[in-house]
Subunit: 309 residues, 2 copies
């Protein structure tokens, strides 16, 4: 087990609430950015942990999408909340499961004594690239930011097990082709406009996930020498309505996992930490609980962390 | 010390060689991408290590800039070299020093037994966003990819010390404001075109680096309980011609560090690994040597790894 404690967390939803049928989504208001949301989420997380920014010795951007091509997201977050301090800032990215990977890496650093209080910030600007012509994805996402403060534990809390796999046959099933190094903004035209939108081949992602996830879960639990019965609660990536189709395939009962897609949508990298933070604040997760964070991400990647809260 | 061994490395320069006065630079040819270069560099690194892709159990994209906003670079690299395999892929990003941070994180994973053979790929598409009106940066950069294979060591090689600091007062001294979440490609116009170019305030970066680096080096060496005399060779980020101004300020003699700016330019995240790989292949670095990797990156970040090769 790697020593790690969750000290506090906080989240912020974008200010514009919209409905698609019975589904609620949140999108950035005029002039609002994910950095604005992140700043509020970090303030809440610090309050929750009873800490100040000066108690933090590492900032990790665990986000799926870049705010700018340069510098990394964590440096821009640093500017908002740690200007004048010399706290190291880095991004760790596995797209939608970036928070899980960031937590996984953070546990090496807290366990080995590199850093004692790490701020992990997740959240993405979904609304910057949603395609109004692709209804399935256009109506799915929300702009949300979350912040967690984790650090060296004084109890027996920590990461019990972690695993990741990437199957790149799914690399182009969820993507934004344009805007960055491979197809720059300078090449944008009315003809190739679609390349700059978020593009999700929902059925393909679902099929590949349904095909790969059972084996990943089985192998991971075997390696962890655990069974699903040892897990108190599962916080999955809030990928889509299909969550209720995928989870039974994994042998996971509805009572055991959190599904907030209807009220919040897919919050990209903020999905897992948002649901985790709420479950902690609501008392659904209490100290001593064994919690599994699991999700699929563009890549196709699946990441898992089993932690003792 | 964290157990880590460099098993092999390889590099590729973009195919178009151009000269600016006596300075040689390399830029992508027509239709060529950083992924094409990365594929060749990875092949060379595997040959150098005497390994196959199936020997690798983790792929890290240690790059400064996104190829696409989604998925992460490592997933796209995975597609090129590991299609059909389930090797986990993730990005670790501190801009220009991403390789150093990736190596630093890799050493936790090899030391703790998480992964035994990690592929780290660095390199960026500088030419995608260079501003012809900003001569200083336009004439500085090269498109290059490098690959390193690191893993569990059977000798006493490893990471002796690592450190990072970020000073976000420099967050906007080196940046690409447009193309991603904060200012999407959809907002591109002739009026705000400059926002989509790489923008470097050279003098400001140099001043801030010159002000911060001496303290960072001094504090790091003290923490490492080492002096510059314990370091056999220093591989700095190939930031610019100013390298020969900064290094003496740090008390580092010309004979002790590698400067290849004239012949190669600033290769962004590939700068340090390219110079390191060449120095290994040229016999300038031999087993048992103590090597310091150090650089500044957009952020402003400074990262350092001291390793026993």
């Amino acid at each position: 087990m790697r020593n790690l404690k969750i000290y506090g967390c906080g989240s912020t939803l974008a200010s514009t609430k919209i409905m698609f049928g019975d589904q609620t989504r949140y999108r950035l208001g005029d002039g609002q950015t994910i950095l604005d949301l992140a700043e509020v989420a970090i303030k809440k997380a610090l309050e929750d942990a009873g800490m100040k920014m000066s108690d933090i010795d590492c900032i990790i951007g665990g986000m799926a999408t870049p705010l700018q091509a340069i510098p990394c997201n964590a440096a821009l977050i640093h500017e908002r909340v740690a200007l004048g301090m010399d706290i190291p800032a880095m991004d760790i990215n596995t797209t939608c499961t970036s928070f899980v990977t960031a937590l996984d890496m953070a546990a090496y650093m807290t366990d080995c004594g590199r850093y004692s209080r790490i701020l992990i910030v997740s959240g993405d600007t979904a609304s910057a690239a949603l395609n109004p012509n692709q209804r399935e994805s256009y109506e799915l996402f929300s702009d949300v930011a979350t912040a967690f403060i984790v650090g060296k534990s004084d109890t027996d809390s920590g990461v019990l097990f972690a695993a990741q796999k990437t199957w790149s046959e799914g690399a182009h099933d969820t993507e934004i082709r344009g805007g960055c190094g491979l197809l720059s903004a300078f090449k944008f035209s009315e003809e190739n406009k679609e390349d700059y939108y978020f593009d999700m081949k929902g059925i393909k992602v679902l099929k590949l996930s349904a095909y790969k996830l059972p084996g990943f879960l089985k192998e991971s639990l075997e390696k962890a020498e655990m069974s699903l019965d040892d897990i108190d609660i599962i916080v999955p990536h809030q990928a889509s309505k299909a969550l209720d189709m995928i989870m039974p395939r994994l042998g996971i009962d509805k009572s055991k996992y959190i599904n907030r897609v209807k009220e919040l949508g897919n919050m990209i990298s903020a999905s897992i930490p948002y649901a985790l933070c709420d479950a902690i604040h609501d008392g659904q997760i209490v100290r001593g609980n064994t919690v599994m964070l699991i999700g699929t991400a563009a890549g196709l990647t699946s990441s898992m962390v089993i932690l003792k809260y």
